[in-house]
Structure formats: C-alpha cells, structure tokens
C-alpha cells in the first residue's frame, strides 16, 4: 500500500511539473501570438496571390440533415482559393440526393488518383455552375478512408479537414493557414481552436452569438475544452510536441501526408495517429518541419449533452489513444524523436492513457489506507485538497489565458458559471469521465463504427448531436 502511495505521489508530482510547464509555455506562446496577429494585416494576407490554395475535405456519413447548410457556409469562407470536396461514405439517408438538389450536381468522369488506397468510388458529382465543389460518393470505409479519398481527389497543395456538422468562423481558415503562409517550407500541419456550440445562437450555418451551454454536461466540457486548448495544446505546440490536431478542424500539407502514407484506417484515433506519424515521417526523412496549433481560429462543434453519448465518446477516444500509443510504441522515450519521443508521448502514456487508472486506483487505495489507519485523516484530506486545488489551478490559469487573449465569454455571469463548473468538476464529473475512459480498454477488442451518431443538423431550431471526433486533450 505504501509502495503504491509512493507511485501515486511521484505520478502526481510529475503531473504537476509537466502541466505547470505547459501552462507557462502556453502563456508565452499566446502572448507571442497576440503580438504577432495584432500587427499582421490579415486582409493583406488573404489577398496575397502567394497564399496557398486549400482543398476543404468534408467526410460525411448520414449527414443529409445539415450537409447543404455546412457546404454553403464553407463556400462563404474568407480565403482566396479553395475547393470543397464532400466525401459521402456510403450514407444511407440520402446525403447525395440532398447535395444534388441543393447544388445542381451532375455525374462527371474523374479517374481515381492512386496516391492513397481507399474503398471503391461509386460516382463523382460536380455542379454545372462555377462552384468549386466536388462530391465523391464511395463505399463505406470509415472516416479515415473517406479522408484518404478526399486527399486523392484534391487539387491543391494544402487540405483542410472539417466535420460536416461543425461550423467554421469566417476567418478561421486564413488564420489556420497563416503558419503555411509565413513558413511554407517547414509547416506540415496546423490545427485550430475548437469550441462548443451548445447554447450558441446559430443562424444560416453561422454562430450569430457565442453563449455558454445551458445543460450540465456540455458546460463541464466547455471547462474541459478551455483547459485543453488554452493550456495543454498551446503549450505542447510551443515546445514542438503537439500530438493532436482535432479531426474537426485542421490544415495539412498534402505532400507531407501522402509521404507519410495518409490516414490509417481501421482505428479510432486516426487524427492523432496521423499527427504522430507526421512527426515520425519527418524525423526519419530528416525534413525540417513544424506542426503547430493556432489558438485563435474557431471551429464550433456540438458536445454530447447526454451521459450515454458522452460515455460512448470518451470510451472511443480512449481506445483511439491506446491504439496510437501502441502503434507508435517505439517512439516513446526514443531520443531520435526529441520532444515528441522524450516528453510528449511519455506524458500522453502516463497522464492520459494510464492516468484514469492511476487516479481511480489512487482514490481506492487512499480510502483503504484511511480506513485501515495507514494514513492520518488530516493527511488524507490535505492530499485530496492538493489534488483538487491543482486541477482548479490549471483551469483558472487557462481561463486567465483565454480572458487575456480572446475573451469569448465576457459577461460576469459567464465567468461565474465557468468558475462554478471548474470547481464542481472535481466532485464526481471527473471521476465519472475516468471510469468511462477505462471502458476504452475494453473497446479495444470490440470494434465500432465512426459514424454511428444520430444527426439533426445545425439549423436554427434543431438540437444537434455530438461530433464524432473533436477531442480536446
């Protein structure tokens, strides 16, 4: 019991060191980002003929309800040269018919490029007008397979992945593409900030007013996302150890992704796996590279509002994480991969993959130790207080960073709710999430489909369902 206590204490100490370091790195990075973007004329950048063209890939599985709105909002994005490629992954709800009606599509002949393998293409559709839209209708193969098909058919050097049920802000694309414009040789991937759309007022496929969710579970997730995006992800990006670019929104160099072999099919965490593989591929080829997170661009996505859906999502995410760590186990603690191999992946393994297990076991052993008299009640209470206070310290730090930079929830009432939920999450929600994440271990042996979600679309009145992969971690 004492040995386990020491293990938990060391784990906690390592957690504090790494996460405090990330918070400090995030602070420096956010300040640098704010200074830089204040001075850069974004309009000037958008108009530059040297800005690289971007293919926007929208994988869609049974998205008939909202696909037309999503495509319309993507067509209206601020960016000089884009094309939109919708990949219908064997939908059974009439997604293709909906698109055909909305955009006047007709069947065209396009040979399938051989760069990345994917399921058979059933047909390709394009509008009769000049709209830069292409719809690929293919056999069901999963999200990764759809993205590989989209990459094959894309004509531009960069591609952006976006979930069909997510909403991009008008200038999100140009801000996320900025690293490619500023450093076109080294940048291979760039991810943007994802926020939770529950509670926001949505009009014509746009977020008209950003508001905090009214429901309990999405509100907890807002706190989680603020902490993850403003502290962890920004911090990892600052030190060159970014391992996740949300499947919901990211821009990639097509050449680098093809060289790395494209998206891996048959796993859940294809977005994280690709980023880790890009690190691996660039290091092995000795190619100077950058994988960055841009803390400002906003992609709005729906968070699960029901416990059942949240439970399924977290189990799936955890399974994805475990798969990625297993696939790339040789990179862990391998000095060849620098920050990624020596810090980022070991942290991911220790704090994210094994963290729930250690923390829950820690609770159980601490209670047992208290009951058997191994530790004094005061020590137990102090240790518990330390754990809770540190979690809140990280959240407060992230809220302070968000306030200092973008302040998207400016009302005093918003702050009260954020702080309230930040305090409350330590008492039940966090432990429940850990339990659900442990289910990911079991899910490793039981495969499930990526698109098994009920979708309603982002219309003004419809409630919406969660995005399949917008993990904040």
């Amino acid at each position: 019991m004492i040995t386990f206590g020491i293990v938990v204490f060391v784990f906690f100490l390592a957690f504090i060191v790494v996460h405090t370091g990330l918070l400090i790195a995030a602070e420096v990075e956010l300040r640098r980002y704010s200074l830089r973007t204040k001075a850069i004329g974004l309009r000037h950048r958008v108009r530059s003929p040297l800005a690289p063209a971007v293919s926007i890939l929208v994988p869609a599985y049974n998205e008939a309800a909202g696909i037309a709105d999503s495509v319309r909002s993507l067509l209206a994005l601020d960016y000089p040269r884009t094309e939109i490629i919708v990949i219908n992954d064997g939908s059974t709800d009439g997604t293709i018919q909906r698109l055909t009606e909305a955009f006047g599509l007709h069947r065209v002949i396009r040979p399938t490029p051989p760069y990345l393998p994917h399921e058979a293409v059933r047909g390709i559709y394009a509008p009769a007008s000049d709209l830069r839209l292409l719809v690929i209708d293919k056999e069901n193969g999963g999200k990764a397979d759809s993205l590989n098909a989209g990459i094959n058919f894309s004509s531009y050097p960069l591609f952006c992945t976006i979930d069909a049920d997510s909403i991009l802000e008008q200038d999100a694309l140009v801000k996320t593409a900025l690293p490619f414009i500023e450093d076109p040789i080294r940048t291979v991937a760039s991810g943007g900030l994802v926020r939770i759309a529950n509670g926001c007022r949505i009009e014509a496929g746009r977020v008209a007013e950003a508001q905090l969710p009214r429901e309990r579970f999405p509100m907890f997730q807002v706190v989680e996302y603020v902490r993850a995006f403003f502290s962890a992800r920004t911090g990892w990006s600052a030190i060159g150890g970014l391992l996740i670019i949300s499947g919901a929104f990211g821009i990639f160099s097509k050449g680098a992704v093809i060289a790395a072999g494209g998206y891996r099919t048959g796993i859940v965490g294809e977005d994280m796996e690709l980023v880790v593989r890009l690190h691996r591929s660039c290091r092995l080829r000795r190619r100077p590279y950058r994988i960055v997170y841009v803390p400002d661009p906003v992609c709005w996505t729906e968070a699960p509002a029901r416990a059942r859906v949240l439970r399924r999502q977290r189990g799936r995410w955890h399974r994805g994480l475990l798969e990625v760590l297993f696939i790339h186990r040789r990179m862990i603690l391998n000095p060849r991969y620098r920050v990624v191999g020596l810090i980022a992946l070991p942290s991911m393994l220790l704090f994210e993959a094994l963290g729930p297990l250690i923390e829950l076991a820690g609770y159980a052993v601490s209670i047992a130790a208290l009951l058997t008299g191994v530790i004094a009640p005061l020590d137990f209470v102090l240790f518990l207080a330390l754990a809770i206070l540190y979690g809140q310290f990280l959240t407060l730090g992230a809220i302070a960073l968000e306030d200092a930079t973008f302040n998207r929830y400016p009302a005093w009432g918003d702050l009260r709710r954020l702080l309230g939920y930040a305090f409350a999450e330590s008492f039940g929600f966090r432990q429940m999430l850990h339990l659900w994440r442990l289910e990911g271990f079991w899910q490793l042996v039981r495969k499930s489909e990526w698109g098994a979600m009920d979708r309603h679309g982002f219309s003004d009145s419809n409630p919406v369902s969660p995005s399949p992969d917008t993990r904040p971690g």
């Binding site: 001075a39 003929p49 490029p113 206070l389």
Partner: protein, 340 residues
C-alpha cells in the same frame, strides 16, 4: 509531512486567489477598453466616412485612447481603399500628426509599439514616413523589418532597393512568408530589382520565392534567365518550368519537351514541364504529349491529358486518338478531360 502538505495546500489556495484577482482585473480592463471603443469608434468611423465623401473637416482626437481608436479606424479603412481616397486619408493622418507619432513609436524600446509604428507608417507611406521606414529596415525585430521592407518596396524609389534586398536575403530562412510578400511588392513596383534574387549565387529559398513571384506576376523579362536555368539543370527545375509556363515563353518549348521526356528526372519535375507546355499552348508539343499521355506514371499521364486540351486542334486530335486506347486508365483519363 502533514505540515509540509498543509503549507503546499495553503500556497496553492493563495495562488488561486491571486489568479482569480488577475482574471477579475483583466475583465475590468477589457470592459473599460470595450466601453471606450463603443464610445469613440462610431464617431471616428463617421468622421472618416464624412471626410472621404465630402471632405468634412476632422476635429483632432484629444484623449490618447480616442487617438488610438481613430488610427485603427483609419488604417482599417485604408486597407480597403486605393488611389485618391487612400492618398487623401494618408494626408489626413499626416495632418493629424500620426506620422510623427508613429516615427517616435518606431524608436520605442517596446517591440509592440515599434510594430504598431511600422504598420502605421507602412499604411500612410508618404515621403515623411518613407524616411522613417528606411530606418526600420535595421530594426532588431523581424516583423518590423519586413513591414518596413514591404512598404518601401511598394512606395519608394530605386535608392532603397539595395537595403530591401539585403533585408530579405538576411531574413529569408526565418520568415519566408513575409519575405515572399516583400519580393512580390518589389516585383510589382520594380521588376528589375528581382534579378539579384534569381542569380545562381542567391540562397536557394530566396531563388525559389523569386521564381514564384516571377511566375505569379508573369515577368516576361526573366524568361531568358529561366531558360538558362532550365538548360543548366537548376536544382529547382519544377519552379523554373512553372515560371516559363506562366510567362508563356514559346522559346522555352524545346527545352521543356526535353525535360518532360527525360526519364532521369522525378515525375513531379516532368509533370511541371508538361503543365508548362500546356500553359504555353504551342502545338509543337503535341507529339511529345501523345507519348506522355500513355505513360505508366499516373500524375504524368493526368497532366499530359490536361495539357493536351490547351494545345488547340492538334491536342484535341491526340486526345481523341488516346480515347480509343486499349488501356482503361488512359481512356478514363482522356475522357475526363474531353468531358470537361
């Protein structure tokens, strides 16, 4: 242990209280700034619009916050304006002593202030600001240097060009995107100035950017230089071929055909040559394309099919013949082009 743990808990709680105070102070500050913006911005926007529409006299802003908002509104308007309206607004900003403010900002020790000064001077870009911008080329901050270089490239005479060239060569490895903007501005205003950036002794990154700019703005005067690069076997042959294609240099066709057919080069380089031949549109390339449209490499075959559609009747003839090819891949590729 209990005491130690107790101290840590108390320290952490105190730290959280400090963080809370910081958050509250930040919010108070942000709300004050928003209130000021709400108070001053509409008046500033109205004043700028009235000045541009009817030449209405502008009353100078008195409070520093009001002046800052006024400057931001004017600079935003300038980014959407051109010609006489832009010049009029620049003149107004000079009259309201924003140029002298920005010039002293450029001497500040704070990087943010210097960047703001450089942006203001770059937007105004009159004779006085150009003198200040020239000093900004030697600033220790790369963003200030590149902002000044771009503004000078857009607005100054030829005497500043050597300093701009020195600045871009110095910064190309660390800020290639910003350098590309400067080179683009230089290419548009002073096309001759790109010559040293294209020479073989220029850094590879610099040459690559200069070639992209030459292609983008189709500077025909560089066609002989690019042809020379092609014959010499430049290390960036794809960019050279792309440039010649964009310029539409007919004299480069034989060399481009040679490159397209040379099996020793990578398919990407050969495809760039094929695409260039399609852009130039010289029918003499049709024979070579007829072979390449049947090539085993997918990208070469696809580019050749696409390029044939730009070669007029001879190209169309080749496509129609290829559409009867026994190979499925070739037929599919050609039919897609014929359909489009």
């Amino acid at each position: 242990m209990t005491a130690g743990l107790g101290y840590v808990v108390v320290a952490l709680a105190a730290l959280e209280c400090v963080l809370l105070v910081i958050i509250v102070m930040l919010r108070v500050l942000l709300r004050r700034n928003r209130r000021r913006a709400d108070q001053f911005r509409p008046a500033a926007e109205l004043a700028v619009a009235s000045y541009l529409a009817a030449g209405t006299t502008v009353i100078p802003a008195t409070y520093p916050a009001e002046r800052a908002i006024w400057r931001d509104v004017a600079l935003e308007a300038m980014s959407d304006l051109s010609g006489s309206e832009r010049a009029a607004l620049a003149h107004l900003l000079d009259d309201l002593s924003y140029v002298s403010d920005a010039t002293s900002d450029l001497r500040s020790r704070r990087r943010t202030t210097r960047r703001r000064g450089a942006e203001t001077l770059a937007a105004i870009a009159n004779a006085d600001s150009l003198t200040a911008l020239a000093t900004g080329l030697h600033d220790r901050d790369i963003q200030v240097r590149m902002t000044c270089a771009r503004a000078l490239a857009e607005a100054s005479g030829i005497e500043e060009i050597p300093d701009i060239i020195t600045a871009v060569i110095r910064d190309v490895r660390t800020a290639s995107g910003a350098v590309a903007d400067v080179v683009l501005a230089l290419g548009r205003e002073h096309p001759d100035a790109l010559e040293p950036l294209l020479r073989p002794d220029a850094p590879a990154e610099m040459r690559s950017i200069a070639m992209a700019v030459v292609s983008e703005i189709r500077l025909t005067q560089y066609a002989p230089m690019l042809r020379e690069c092609l014959v010499r076997g430049d290390q960036n042959l794809a960019a050279v071929a792309r440039g010649l294609g964009m310029i539409g240099d007919v004299e480069a066709v034989p060399a481009l055909i040679g490159l397209a057919e040379d099996e020793s080069h990578k398919p990407a380089v050969r495809a760039a040559a094929v695409a260039a031949l399609g852009s130039i549109g010289d029918p003499s390339a049709a024979g070579s394309m007829e072979r390449l449209v049947r090539h085993e490499n997918w990208s070469l075959r696809a580019t050749a099919a696409q390029s044939l559609s730009g070669l007029g009747n001879p190209g169309r003839g080749v496509l129609e013949r290829a559409a009867r090819s026994p190979s499925n891949e070739v037929r599919e590729q050609v039919q897609a082009v014929l359909q489009s």
